[in-house]
Symmetry: C2
DNA sequence: ATATTTTGAATGAGCGTTCAGCAAATATGT
DNA sequence: ACATATTTGCTGAACGCTCATTCAAAATAT
């Protein structure tokens, strides 16, 4: 006979991370949480685990514990570990895309303002957290040997890169700059990704310093369009 | 009773990769290989495995197979899987450092030439192979949750970054550029790392195009010092 | 003969997956 | 209203597989 704790008694459970908590408390609690809410809660716990332990040490047990739920739960809501991870990456990719999409909307129709916004939003508090950067990096590390991950990681991808390229092209025409836009765009995008990488590694680099470095790049590339405070 | 193949008969073994072969055939063959040679051979096989299967799926069995040796071999020459991986990363970090060290030597004492050489050598055939980039990336993915990896990955690190910064500073003084050197250096280093990341991801980006993008950066940042063909 | 290197079978820990069963929520019957 | 049946969400023990590690024995070198 088992001695049993009362279920869903959050006071008894291990401390959950703010992100998981938040999702768990959205809508209704405990048993009544909808399927979609549970999935989200597990995805958040997965990001936590990836950030804390890295890809190779992320286990379903850890995810379940992190979500404050039982062992079999992932295979119930997702079909397998693999599918949970894909859903997690998908979620992050969607969030990322939504973020820059919204930033672009708000930026108005001047190319310089759009480019500025696009660069800034990569270092937004919502997107650019240690936690999420670590999770991104975990996926990057596995991406080369997994086409599925590669496709989703590259979702910061074609459309994004195209827009970037178009903006650089426009500014070049406006400002009579001499550079070769494709190389320029590539170097700029790469720089932001590299800054993410470094943010993740720690080193005492902060979000603000990273953003400032990216801005420095914008300044030397498009001196007629930007000051350190923003587009002219 | 076992039916046994004759040992060390390379004709019978699985095809080994060029890198492993090369090491295996350095010095004397088969059993007579020295301790150091065997270690190197296993390290090359580890890089192969990381590149082919990613960190999380790299197994000692795969490494041993890749080296054309038996299962227990790694635990004999290295003490554990963990130590093999650390030795592998250490090897790559040393090779990387030696590469830019040599490039710096050869570049003479003009700051512009040195910076050019430093950027160029990151895209050198010897360093910048799919295989090695993939291995680097595999380690990056695990680095946040493993201090040891983090320390070694950051070996493209303090000294490297300091030299870079000093060079940017010198060029700024020479050329009366307006940028803030710390941000500039950071953005430039990050750009090169980001380009590596993209090279690894595939996308049809080639070493030459990546190098060209980095050069494009140099051009806009230091227009008085460089042309696309090199330092003035 | 002794020391060193290599082998490969055995071991056991860790992990993803499965599934029978429990409990909460909801639907249906009275 | 209350009782009963059905559905849905969840649990956790059990299973089987993969893989790092160990080690006795074999092969080779000195």
């Amino acid at each position: 006979m088992h001695l049993r704790l009362k279920k869903n008694d959050t006071a008894v459970r291990m401390k959950l991370t703010p992100e998981v908590q938040e999702v768990a408390e959205t809508e209704k609690r405990g048993r009544k949480a909808s399927k979609e809410t549970r999935r989200q809660q597990l995805i958040e716990a997965t990001i936590d685990s990836l950030a804390k332990r890295g890809y190779s040490e992320t286990t379903l047990a850890d995810v379940a514990d992190g979500a404050g739920l039982s062992r079999g739960i992932v295979n119930f809501h997702f079909e397998s570990k693999e599918k949970l991870l894909i859903a997690t990456l998908q979620f992050m990719a969607d969030e990322y895309a939504a973020n820059w999409g919204a930033a672009l909307e708000k930026a108005g129709d001047k190319a310089a303002a759009q480019l500025w916004a696009l660069v800034a939003c990569d270092f937004d508090r919502k997107i650019c957290t240690k936690r999420k950067l670590a999770a991104w990096c975990a996926f990057w590390g596995e991406a080369k040997s997994r086409p599925t991950y590669q496709a989703l990681c590259g979702a910061r991808d074609v459309r994004y890169q195209d827009i970037f390229l178009a903006l650089c092209q426009t500014l070049k025409d406006e400002g009579d700059y001499a550079y070769e836009p494709e190389g320029m765009t590539l170097a700029l995008c790469a720089s932001m990704e590299g800054l993410w990488l470094r943010l993740m590694m720690g080193d005492g680099l902060t979000r603000d310093k990273a953003h400032a470095a990216a801005v420095e790049y914008l300044l030397v590339a498009f001196p007629k369009h930007f000051t350190r405070e923003g587009p002219k």
